[in-house]
Amino acid sequence: MADTAREAARPGRRLTPWLFLAAPLTLLLTFTYAPIANMIAYSFTDWDGVSPELNWTGAGNYSELLTRSELFEVFFVSGYYLAASVVQIVLALYFATVLSFDVRFRNFFKGVLFFPYLVNGVAIGFVFLYFFQDGGTLDSVLSLFGAGTDHAWLGTPFSANTSLAGVSVWRHMGLNFVLFLGAIQSIPGELYEAAEIDGATRWQQFRHIIAPGIRPVLSLSVILSVSGSLSVFEIPYIMTGGATGTETFVIQTVKLAFQFNKTGLASAAAVVLLLIVLAVTWVQRRIVPDEKVDLV
C-alpha cells in the first residue's frame, strides 16, 4: 500500500472519512464479520444448528478435530486440484506466451480460451454431467477415434477426482491466461526488438524478458491456486456430492453441519480452514514480498 498521507489534518476534517466509510463498514461488519464472529463462537459449543439450547464445550471441538486424523485425510483430494492448478498455470502461461506473439485468429483463440470462465456454474454442472455420462460426450468423442471405451469416468476415486479436477481446469484456466497475457503485453515492445536483433530465440525471450515481467501475477496465481485447492466445493458438490472418494474439506464440513447436526464441530473445522488459508497467504507474502500485487 502506498502511503497516502495527503490530507492536511484540519480540525473538523477528522470526521469526513468516517462519513464516507459509514455505509461500507456497516455492510461489511453486518454481512461478513458478524457471521464470522458467530461462527467462531459456535466453534466452542456443541450446537446442533437449530436447537434453542447449546452447551459451552470450550476447546473440545478443536481437540476432537486434532485427534481425528481421518478428518484431514480429505486434504489428499486437494492434491488432485493442486496438481490440476499446476497444469492450469503451465497451460495458461503457454497460451499467453504464444498468443502474445503474432498469431493468426489471435482474438478468436483468446476469446475461446477465456470464455469458460464466464459461464454460469450451474450450466457447467449440467454440461459436464452430460459430458461424463455413459455414452455421453466424452465416450462419443473417444469412439470417434476408434477408442471405444466402457470406462465409468466418475467411477473410481482416481478417475473421478481427475475428471473433476479437469473440469476445474477447463473452467478457471481462462482467468490465469488473461492475467498472464495482460502482464506480458505490458512489457515494453522495445525489449523484444532488442532481443531479436541480438538473435535471441523464443525460449530465451521467454526466460529473460517474459518470465521476470509476469512474476507478480504468477505468484498471485499460485497463492490463489493453493488456497483454492484447499477450499474446493462447488464442482464436486454439484457433480458427485462427494461420493466415491471425491469429498473435499468444505464438503465434509457442510456434511458435518447439515447431515450430522454437528454445527459446533463444523464451525471449528471452518475456523481451522480459515487459519490454514491465512497461513498460506502469510507464507506467500513472506517469500514474495511484492508490493505490486494485491490479493483479489
Binding site: W56, Q133, W153, A243, T244, K255, L256, F260
Partner: protein, 440 residues
C-alpha cells in the same frame, strides 16, 4: 452448563453485530401453544405459507388445485406454497428464525424433545391416536405435534413383464433366491436387473426401511437403539449385504455414478430396468411414466423384501414427512385447518396410492397383492426413535443418509478398498461407541 443461544452468543458479539442482535433476540413465549381446529370453517381468515419438499407438485400446479379445493370449505384462507429443492438444508437454516412458514414438514434435524419449541400441538395422543396412524412418531409428553398425510410401505418396484420373461413368477423368499432371479433376468432378458440410483443419493436411504421386515419385529427401532444394527442376522446387515451382493454380482447398472432418477422411471416402465428398492409411493410415479412412454401401467408390480418369518412376508409401514404448525405462526387456526383438511379430505393419499393416515381407511390398490399373499403389515414402535437419531448423528454413520450406502456400492464395485465384513464391523463399532458415550 446450559446457555440460551439467542441471548448469550449474540450478546458476546454485540460489538460487531449490534444491529443483528437487536433483531434476532426473540422471546420464546409461544412455546407450548396449541393449534386448535376452527369451529366454523367460514370464519377462519388469513394467509398461510406451506413449506413442502414436493417441488414437483408445486411446479406442475397440483398443489394449487388442492388449495382451490380447500378454499371451497375454507373461503377465507389464502394458501401459498414454497417448494424447497434441498428441503432439509433450507428448512434447517430457516428454523433458526421464526420465519419458517405456517405449515411445514418436520425436518429430520429437529430433536423430538424440541418439538414443543418449534411446533404447535395438534392435540393429545389419546384423542389423535384413536383416529390416526403414526401418532407416536411426533408425540412428546402426551401431546402430538405432527401428522403424516400418507403412510408408506417399503418394497421392490419391479417390471412384471421382465420378471415373467425371465421365468420368475413367484416372489423370492430369501436374499439368495432374489439374487438368482436377478441373474435369470440378466441372462434371459436385455433389462438391467437392478438400478441403484446412486447419483441421486436419496433412493439409497430407502434401504434403511428394510429394518423390521426381516425379523418381523415391531420393536425393530428399539433394537437399533439398544444393539448393533450390523450384527450377524440383523435386519440392516441383511439389507446392506443384499445391496452389496447385487452390485458385486454385476446385477446393477454399469455406471452408478451417472444415474438419473427421472430417467429411471421410464426405464423401469419400459422394461429396460427390472427392479428398484423404493416404496409403495413410487408405484404411482412409475405408472405415470409408463403411460407417458406408451407402456402398460399394469406391468408395474410391487413386492416385499425377500425374507419370511414362519412362512409369511412382513412389511413395515412408516410415515412420510409429518406436517406441523409453526409455533410462531400468526394464523394457527388456518394452518391447523389446512393440515386437517389435507390429512382427511384432500385425497392426497389416494392420489399417491399410499396408505391412508386414517386408521379406518381401506388398504390402497397397490397393496392388494400384499393382502392376497398374506403379507403382514407392521406399525413400528417409535418410542426409541429419538435415541436412534442421536446415536446416528453422534457416530456419523448416517443410516438415514446416503453416504454409507454409497460406500457399500463402491466397495462392491471395487472402487473402494476393503471387505464388506470389515466395513460393516466398523460401522457397528462406531455405533456402539456413540451409544455408550450417549448413555454415560
Amino acid at each position: 452448563m446450559h446457555l440460551n443461544r439467542r441471548t448469550t452468543l449474540t450478546g458476546s458479539i454485540a460489538l460487531l453485530a449490534l444491529l443483528a442482535a437487536a433483531c434476532t433476540g426473540t422471546g420464546g413465549s409461544s412455546e407450548g401453544a396449541d393449534a386448535k381446529a376452527p369451529d366454523d370453517p367460514s370464519e377462519v381468515k388469513g394467509s398461510i405459507t406451506v413449506l413442502t419438499h414436493r417441488t414437483d407438485l408445486v411446479q406442475d400446479g397440483t398443489m394449487k388445485k388442492y388449495a382451490a379445493e380447500f378454499n371451497k370449505t375454507y373461503p377465507g384462507v389464502e394458501v401459498e406454497f414454497d417448494g424447497l429443492t434441498d428441503y432439509e438444508g433450507e428448512v434447517k437454516i430457516r428454523m433458526n428464525t421464526e420465519n419458517y412458514g405456517d405449515v411445514l414438514m418436520i425436518p429430520a434435524v429437529i430433536e423430538k424433545k424440541d418439538y414443543p419449541k418449534f411446533f404447535a400441538s395438534l392435540g393429545t395422543k389419546a384423542e389423535r391416536g384413536a383416529r390416526y396412524r403414526f401418532t407416536d412418531y411426533s408425540t412428546v409428553d402426551g401431546k402430538v405435534y405432527g401428522q403424516s398425510p400418507i403412510g408408506v410401505v417399503p418394497g421392490f418396484v419391479y417390471n412384471k413383464k421382465v420378471w415373467n420373461d425371465a421365468g420368475v413368477t413367484d416372489w423370492p423368499t430369501t436374499p439368495d433366491e432374489f439374487l438368482d432371479d436377478l441373474r435369470a433376468i440378466r441372462s434371459r432378458t436385455d433389462a438391467v436387473p437392478y438400478y441403484t440410483n446412486f447419483k441421486d443419493m436419496w433412493p439409497l436411504t430407502q434401504w434403511t426401511n428394510v429394518n423390521g421386515s426381516v425379523g418381523c419385529d415391531t420393536g425393530a427401532t428399539t433394537k437399533l437403539a439398544e444393539g448393533d444394527p450390523w450384527a450377524e442376522g440383523a435386519d440392516l446387515r441383511v439389507a446392506d449385504t443384499l445391496l452389496h451382493d447385487i452390485v458385486r454380482g454385476g446385477l446393477a447398472e454399469k455406471d452408478p455414478t451417472t444415474t438419473n432418477w427421472e430417467a429411471s422411471k421410464p426405464g423401469l416402465a419400459k422394461g429396460e430396468i427390472a427392479t428398484m428398492w423404493l416404496g409403495s409411493w413410487a408405484v404411482v410415479q412409475m405408472r405415470d411414466a409408463a403411460r407417458q412412454a406408451g407402456a402398460d401401467p399394469a406391468d408395474i408390480g410391487f413386492m416385499p423384501f425377500p425374507a419370511q418369518r414362519d412362512g409369511t412376508f412382513c412389511a413395515v409401514t412408516s410415515p412420510d414427512y409429518q406436517q406441523a404448525v409453526n409455533v410462531h405462526s400468526g394464523h394457527k387456526e388456518a394452518a391447523r385447518a389446512w393440515i386437517d383438511w389435507f390429512t382427511d379430505k384432500s385425497g392426497y393419499a389416494e392420489a399417491n396410492l399410499a396408505l391412508s393416515p386414517l386408521k379406518d381407511a381401506p388398504l390402497p390398490d397397490v397393496l392388494e397383492p400384499y393382502r392376497e399373499a398374506g403379507v403382514k403389515l407392521l406399525d413400528l414402535d417409535d418410542g426409541k426413535g429419538a435415541e436412534v437419531k442421536s446415536i446416528d448423528n453422534m457416530s456419523e454413520v448416517g443410516i438415514y443418509k446416503p453416504d454409507y450406502r454409497q460406500d457399500v456400492v463402491d466397495l462392491a464395485r471395487g472402487a473402494r478398498e476393503g471387505s464388506l465384513d470389515d466395513f460393516l464391523g466398523d460401522l457397528g463399532k462406531r455405533w456402539s461407541e456413540a451409544r455408550n458415550s450417549l448413555g454415560s
